[in-house]
């Protein structure tokens, strides 16, 4: 066994690092408080993401792990992990996870040649922005309960229904949509995937504001929206299977652990530079133990992430599936602990939103509010634990 990176991999890390070090100097002030809000809430934040995306596209970094035939470099998944680590450390934008991470692999597995040629290159070049049209008011954890209809009429599908929680729906030019094409079907049968242009007539995007009034997610309404049949991805009525197959992207969850380490490094700097009650905060034993405990979580989590990446490369998808759920739930709950401890170490300053008084650009208060969402989206902690018990341990499934 050998946990070391090769020289080439280290050189690659250095190359990524140098790029982001330089680029992040141009981050607008809106970027400072971090999180999805920095990316989607303000025009400045989104413009920064958009420009970075194009730069990454030019370098070919968005599609490194893709097969050569679709414009990628067939890079091993470990290189993707390295990229994800550096990207997360710099809290950099530029990666549209919906396009690069989710829809592109879906296309590679299930798209027609025509679709791959037409849709993959713009994603690789960072020219498009996707959003994910899965959740509905009555289909959250229970996604298969979705009811948005896509009814075939001639060369078109006519879509009616409502999607919700669509992250960045107000910024995206495309959506990958999961809708019911067989009106007589129930549950996971009869669903299909579509590539949808967001400017089609009949699509209406309305903001959902986060508890701190940040605009990240949206309701998206479809009223008699005509989608050309050539935008159906994969076989009609078999969208569920395809959705579940798109696992060949890096899903170790390494990014969260790396960003967590960055945050506690900043917290340690703060604790060393500030006094409370005449004593450096970093000398306070309780604070020391809290931060030490976080560090342990981040260390073991990152190591688990390496294992997932490794198994995924070897094709151990069953292990990877359960362990990816472990990493997700461990990672988001640990990130929540990081947020909690940040607000505690900063004392009364922990309540301040980004302003001249707020240490660390108000990241503590922002993170405290946003971390709870990460336990809910992309499969809630409860759903993940169910999966770990069922897939990882073979315990009986409950209905």
């Amino acid at each position: 066994m050998d946990f070391e990176f090769t020289k080439e991999q280290e050189a690659l890390r250095e190359e990524f690092d140098e790029f982001f070090r330089k680029e992040m100097k141009h981050a607008p002030k809106e970027w400072a408080e971090g999180g999805l809000e920095a990316m989607y809430h303000t025009d400045e934040g989104f413009a920064f993401h958009d420009q970075m995306k194009k730069k990454l596209g030019k370098k070919g970094w968005l599609s490194r792990a893709w097969p050569k035939e679709y414009g990628g470099q067939d890079a091993p998944l470990i290189e993707q992990l390295i990229f994800n680590e550096v990207h997360a450390f710099h809290r950099a934008p530029g990666v549209d996870n919906f396009g690069v991470g989710m829809f592109a692999p879906t296309l590679m597995v299930g798209g027609t040649e025509e679709q791959k040629k037409r849709l993959l290159p713009p994603i690789a070049r960072g020219e498009v922005q996707y959003c994910q049209g899965w959740s509905e008011p009555d289909a959250g954890s229970d996604l298969a309960n979705l009811s948005t209809q896509a009814v075939r009429e001639g060369d078109y599908y006519i879509v009616n229904g409502q999607k919700t929680w669509t992250t960045g729906g107000h910024r995206a030019d495309h959506m990958f949509l999961l809708a019911r094409t067989d009106p007589n079907s129930t549950r996971s049968r009869g669903l299909s995937i579509f590539n949808v242009k967001m400017d089609l007539p009949g699509i209406e995007v309305r903001p959902i504001l986060y508890m701190d009034k940040g605009h990240i997610t949206n309701d998206v309404y479809f009223k008699d929206v005509k989608i050309h049949a050539s935008e159906l991805v994969g076989k009609e009525n078999e969208g569920w299977e395809l959705t579940r197959q798109t696992m060949n992207f890096e899903r170790s969850g390494v990014a969260g652990f790396v960003e967590g380490k960055r945050t506690i490094a900043e917290l340690i700097d703060y604790a060393k530079a500030h006094k409370r009650n005449g004593k450096k905060i970093s000398e306070d034993p309780v604070t020391r133990q809290k931060i030490a405990k976080l560090f342990i979580g981040l260390e073991v989590g990152q190591t688990l992430a390496y294992r997932i990446n490794w198994e995924q490369q070897k094709g151990g998808l069953i292990f990877a599936a359960s362990a990816a759920s472990e990493s997700k739930v461990f990672g988001s709950e640990l990130s929540q602990q990081v947020a909690n401890v940040s607000t505690e170490v900063l004392g009364m300053y922990g309540q301040l939103e980004n302003s001249k008084w707020a240490p660390m650009d108000g990241k503590a208060a922002t993170h405290y509010q946003f971390c709870v969402a990460a336990n809910i989206f992309a499969g809630s902690s409860e759903v993940q634990r169910n999966l770990i018990a069922w897939v990882g341990l073979g315990l009986p499934r409950t209905k």
């Binding site: 701190d212 509010q369 809910i376 809630s380």
Partner: protein, 372 residues
């Protein structure tokens, strides 16, 4: 033993609940949060007319001499509605400071005004190192003839942006911590509201050569900390009451949602994972509320609460955070939104943790009280 509230107390609770339900639904709470003033003057006037502010003050200062438990009931109900107002800063903190340490003149002139809803006040205690301790109060008050001169910065002062008068804790050389009654609009004072997770009126106050006449000292030079300490247990109890009210509302709101929200063909409340969270939440509420009532009773009876007060705030801090965090989780996506009301409580739990001492502070003080 009798662990029931009196009939009058039940009626008081009901009337407060009805008033707030009518006057300040959650939509209004959100509007107030987004307003510069952070409270509604008309509501404030009506509250005064209902007698909420004079309740606890002795009759000679225009009050009704009610026990503190009645104020606790009011605060609990305010907590359930996430009601924003300067009640805690004005009536509780400053009212108690004046009661405990004010001169007859000060009490006679100020308490009836508070009782009548005509005077808003803010306590300016904390400074830039964000310490809850006496040693954290270092802003100098220099004697100069018949007055003192204040220079420095106060942080995290609640409702200073709307206050008419401040009670400022500063240090007089050779005497120690001293409280000053200061006109909030006096020359040399700059007050700025800071953006906080609680979306409340948390302020920075900068003092530049602010002159305060000697007769506006509260309780005498060097008496400041002692007075603050007298205010402290009662104020902690009342803040905890507000937090416990928030716990109750969150538990109810969440149980209600868990019964109604259907996923996988059944109410999410039928999943055992959710039931266990909810059981913990109820436990968190029940331990908090009962302990609150006990400590409040002890204070009312004049008993020593030097351990209990720290145990109470630490416990309620942690339970309010836990309950609201699980509340968001059980609500799923809707729990994170501005439109739904869960977030109001989640944000307040964090904001209120900082009021009168965070958990770590109270653990430490409790360890002291346990003679460690």
């Amino acid at each position: 033993m009798n662990l029931d509230f009196t009939k009058e107390q039940d009626m008081l609770r009901k009337s407060v609940a009805e008033f707030l339900a009518k006057e300040c639904p959650f939509e209004t709470v959100k509007e107030l949060e987004e307003s510069e003033e952070g409270y509604n003057k008309k509501q404030w006037k009506k509250m005064a007319e209902l007698g909420w502010m004079e309740l606890y003050f002795p009759e000679e200062y225009g009050g009704m001499g009610d026990p503190i438990m009645n104020v606790m009931i009011i605060m609990e109900e305010m907590g359930k509605k996430a009601f924003p107002s300067p009640y805690f800063s004005t009536v509780v903190q400053c009212g108690l400071v004046l009661l405990e340490g004010g001169s007859e003149d000060q009490k006679k002139s100020l308490l009836p005004k508070i009782a009548g809803g005509k005077l808003l006040m803010s306590l300016a205690q904390y400074e830039e190192d964000a310490s809850y301790e006496q040693a954290g109060i270092n802003m100098p008050a220099e004697p100069a003839g018949d007055h003192y001169v204040l220079n420095g910065t106060k942080m995290f002062a609640l409702d200073a942006n709307v206050a008419d008068k401040l009670i400022v804790a500063a240090r007089v050389k050779d005497s120690g911590v001293t409280l000053f009654l200061v006109d909030a609009k006096a020359p040399g004072i700059t007050t700025t509201k800071m953006p906080t997770i609680g979306m409340d009126n948390t302020c920075e106050i900068i003092f530049k050569n602010v002159k305060v006449p000697k007769e506006d000292v509260v309780g005498g030079p060097g008496k400041g900390w002692e007075i603050l300490q007298k205010m402290f247990p009662k104020a902690v109890i009342l803040k905890c009451a507000e937090m416990v009210g928030g716990c109750r509302e969150t538990v109810d709101m969440t149980a209600d949602y868990a019964k109604k929200r259907i996923q996988y063909g059944k109410p999410i409340g039928s999943f055992q994972a959710i039931q266990h969270y909810m059981a913990n939440m109820l436990l968190g509420y029940d331990t908090s509320s009962n302990y609150l009532y006990k400590v409040c009773w002890m204070v009312q009876e004049g008993m020593d609460v030097s351990k209990e007060i720290h145990a109470l705030k630490a416990h309620v801090n942690e339970q309010y955070k836990y309950i609201t965090e699980r509340g968001v989780q059980i609500h799923g996506g809707v729990g994170t939104t501005r439109e739904f009301n869960m977030g109001l409580f989640y944000r307040r739990a964090k904001a209120y943790e900082y009021v009168l001492g965070d958990t770590q502070y109270h653990y430490e003080k409790l360890a002291d009280a346990l003679n460690m």
